[in-house]
């Protein structure tokens, strides 16, 4: 196993940041840790990168214990913390050179690993990192984390605050890296990114809600979800919440995702009910669950 976490718990003063977390990541896997801010993702990353010590439980990374063998882990993993953590006043090239030197290597030595990413930022190599756009910074940070050819790569919310185009490119890069035998643990608050991982763990309030492939997580959603829309969104939501048979009512873009707690639910009844509540243009259609639906159902 590339990463193995067994019964890890961690508390700060009053707050329980992590409660009894266990999971394993196979070599070469792209594993996603999906959860909102404050779910405990960063704490878990810091424990695995040897920056924090857990109160309970144990963990190994690349076969090394995170407490006893912390020095070995530090030279064999790459870590990209949540905040933009490069030297703003150093140029792209100087940043990369610096991180290469402190890991005892050179850019040339591992160039083929970062080549795909580096060519995109190379035109700006003499620009100070602080003057790069969000997407560029993120690419540079990834290069810096990869420069010593780590076995395991930890990416803590790499796509937060980055626009959709850069996000897409970033995930494409991760997919390519995976083919070079690097195990990747990535965290994100965006549920739509979950589908891009091999396996994911849904995490909230320091607890893991479920671990599986994104496909089976959605497949296991217990109910039929209906897309509902009408002329007035707010009235629609209030009416649905007042409907005695409702199981869940969540606005979902231009629709409301509705589930009913009856097995023999007939959408026509609902249309009738909604129209009796002065709503018009009512539409109801079946739809499939998303990771977000599952997350909300589990967190409920």
């Amino acid at each position: 196993m590339s990463i193995s976490v067994t019964h890890i718990s961690k508390s700060y003063k009053k707050v329980k940041a992590l409660q009894d977390i266990s999971f394993e990541v196979k070599p070469g896997e792209l594993f996603g840790l999906i959860g909102p801010d404050g779910a405990g993702k960063t704490t878990l990353f810091r424990i695995l990168t040897t920056l924090l010590i857990a109160n309970e439980g144990s963990a190994t990374v690349a076969g090394f214990d995170v407490v006893a063998d912390y020095k070995k882990i530090r030279s064999s993993v790459g870590y990209m913390p949540g905040k933009f953590s490069l030297y703003q006043d150093l140029t792209v090239e100087e940043n990369l050179n610096f991180f290469a030197t402190i890991f005892g290597t050179t850019i040339e030595e591992n160039y083929d690993l970062i080549k795909d990413i580096f060519v995109q930022i190379e035109p700006f190599k003499n620009r100070r990192a602080g003057k790069l756009s969000g997407g560029m910074k993120q690419k540079l940070a990834l290069c810096c984390a990869l420069i010593h050819k780590p076995k395991v790569l930890f990416l803590d919310e790499p796509t937060t605050g980055v626009d959709p185009v850069s996000r897409k490119e970033f995930w494409d890069m991760l997919k390519r890296l995976q083919q070079k035998d690097i195990t990747i643990l990535v965290s994100t608050p965006y549920m739509d990114e979950a589908a891009l991982c091999d396996r994911i763990a849904l995490i909230q309030h320091g607890k893991i809600l479920e671990i599986d492939t994104p496909q089976s997580i959605v497949k296991h959603y217990p109910k039929q979800i209906y897309n509902v829309r009408a002329n007035n969104m707010y009235q629609l939501i209030t009416s649905l919440n007042d409907y005695e048979h409702h199981h869940s009512v969540y606005p979902f873009g231009e629709y409301v995702h509705y589930t009913d707690n009856r097995t023999d639910f007939n959408p026509k009844d609902l249309i009738q009910y909604l129209e009796s509540n002065n709503l018009s243009e009512v539409e109801i259609a079946k739809t499939v669950a998303t990771i977000e639906d599952t997350f909300m159902e589990l967190a409920k």
Binding site: P36, D163, D192, Q204, I237, P251, G253, E254, E292
Partner: protein, 242 residues
């Protein structure tokens, strides 16, 4: 002037030196509408919004917000709008009540009115138990909701939201959108700037800015049809890649 149009923008332009940050944008927003203002980092959406809320002067073009001209009546605009951003929300070292009182005071609400308002607000958000606790100790989702309510304290005609729900858990996020729908239903116009495309799906209409220009403006549904895309994210990717 059509009273239903609370934001009217025509050919609004902002230059920084030779760089055109906002290039002759034109759009209207109606009363009670939830309007999504989308764009990548650096596309010019922040600059455009700063002009609309009266803290930056345009170089050319026309714009009226809440019935006031951005060139001549910037101060009146400020009185009639609310603003909430994820970065600056509330003071962490003040309690819930103190925050409400403070922001009520800024917008010139009378003491009595602040008292009434905060009682209603605390009840609606079910914050009775934490009313005297420091805002810093509340979960992120609660802060967001409180912060939104505070931006509505002075009953503004328009509320500007800057990436309001990034990073919030899915359930709280939905509660947040329910609050937005409610405000819109009561006639407040909601202007959302964001680069999270899933936030865009919730808006009545969205505009997408690329390199200082508005390249698309319609309902999410029609945009998706027009670009033959499944999600707003795909619409955006197609637009940005040209």
């Amino acid at each position: 002037m059509n009273n239903n149009k609370v934001i009217q923008v025509e050919g609004l332009t902002k230059m920084f030196g030779y760089f055109t940050a906002v290039n002759a944008i034109t759009f209207d927003v109606e009363k009670g509408e939830i309007f999504g203002f989308l764009g990548a980092n650096g596309a010019g959406k922040t600059t455009a919004m700063k002009m609309l809320i009266g803290i930056s002067n345009p170089n050319s073009g026309k714009a009226k917000v809440a019935g006031f001209d951005v060139f001549t009546h910037a101060e009146d605009i400020k009185k009639n709008i609310g603003y909430m951003s994820q970065k600056f929300a509330l003071y962490d070292d003040l309690t819930v009540k103190e925050n409400i009182t403070f922001f009520g005071g800024i917008y010139g609400l009378s003491r009595k009115r602040i008292k009434e308002k905060s009682a209603v607000l605390i009840e609606e958000l079910e914050l009775e138990k934490v009313a005297n606790k420091l805002v810093g100790s509340l979960p992120l989702g609660w802060k967001q909701k409180l912060s939104f309510s505070v931006s509505l304290l002075h009953d503004p005609k328009i509320v500007f939201l800057d990436e309001p729900t990034g990073g919030v858990d899915p359930i709280t996020r939905r509660q947040f959108w329910e609050m937005i729908y409610k405000a819109a239903d009561q006639g407040t116009t909601v202007f959302v700037t964001t680069h999270y495309m899933d936030e865009a799906e919730y808006c009545d209409r969205v505009s997408i800015m690329v390199n200082g220009k508005i390249e698309a403006l319609d309902t999410p549904k029609k945009l998706k049809e027009q670009f033959k895309a499944e999600t707003m994210n795909d619409v955006f990717l197609k637009l940005a890649r040209g």
